[in-house]
């Protein structure tokens, strides 16, 4: 049973489109995250939600909007996709903020053409 699952795993779309990536965790964790791994392999946090409340919002363009309908789900919606948005997006969760181990999903490979 997958602990952190995200869909779709692969997504190819045209510039200007709007797309969503869904994430669910069945670990009973309170905190969920979106990370982005770019072409240089840097793994950087984008957003963090704790009990459905936005806690961390890095300097991400406002075309990216996370939505947490409940603490087991954190979806990522991206408007007006640009070529530079091509990356791997990882959803993750942890028991809480701070010194807790973070568990990652398998990643969603987004390619914007």
């Amino acid at each position: 049973d997958t602990a952190v699952s995200q869909t779709p795993k692969y997504l190819v779309t045209q510039m200007g489109n709007d797309k969503s990536i869904k994430c669910e965790q069945n670990l009973g964790h309170d905190t969920m995250y979106w990370y982005k791994q770019d072409s240089k392999k840097f793994l950087k946090i984008m957003f963090s939600y704790n009990n459905k409340e936005l806690i961390i919002n890095e300097t991400v363009p406002n075309r990216f909007s996370p939505k947490s309908p409940d603490k087991a789900h954190l979806n990522l919606h991206i408007n007006s996709l640009e070529l530079g948005d091509s990356a791997v997006y990882f959803c993750a969760s942890s028991q809480g903020l701070g010194t807790y181990t973070i568990y990652f999903g398998e990643g969603s490979w987004l390619t914007v053409v």
Partner: protein, 112 residues
């Protein structure tokens, strides 16, 4: 500003030998450190962690060492196995941030 650095992008080790992966950090407020392992087309998987109150933590073949004065940690894998071939990320958190800051990864290849 890269607060967590893994200066070796790759490492090649013979099966059965020791693999040593290194990581340096700049923020002296970091107090929790982790190592993740990542296979291609998969997400990072938690491997082992250490808090700043310790200088060593061991779990089977994996040992993490922390040298706070040097702001350096290392992961030792003994003995190395071909299945250990993956990208290893170190990460750190603490101080004034709840964020987990990752290094850029080291690709380990264990050959027979």
């Amino acid at each position: 500003d890269q607060q967590v650095k893994q200066n070796s992008p790759s490492l090649s080790v013979q099966e059965g030998r020791i693999s040593i992966l290194n990581c340096d950090y700049t923020n002296s407020m970091f107090d929790y450190f982790l190592w993740y392992k990542k296979y291609p087309a998969e997400g990072p998987t938690f491997l082992i962690s250490i808090s700043s109150i310790k200088d060593k933590n061991e779990d089977g073949r994996f040992t993490v060492f922390l040298n706070k004065s040097a702001k350096h940690l290392s992961l030792h894998i003994v003995p190395s196995q071909p299945g250990d071939s993956a990208v290893y990320f170190c990460a750190a958190s603490g101080g004034d941030t709840d964020k987990l800051i990752f290094g850029t990864g080291t690709r380990l290849q264990v050959f027979p």
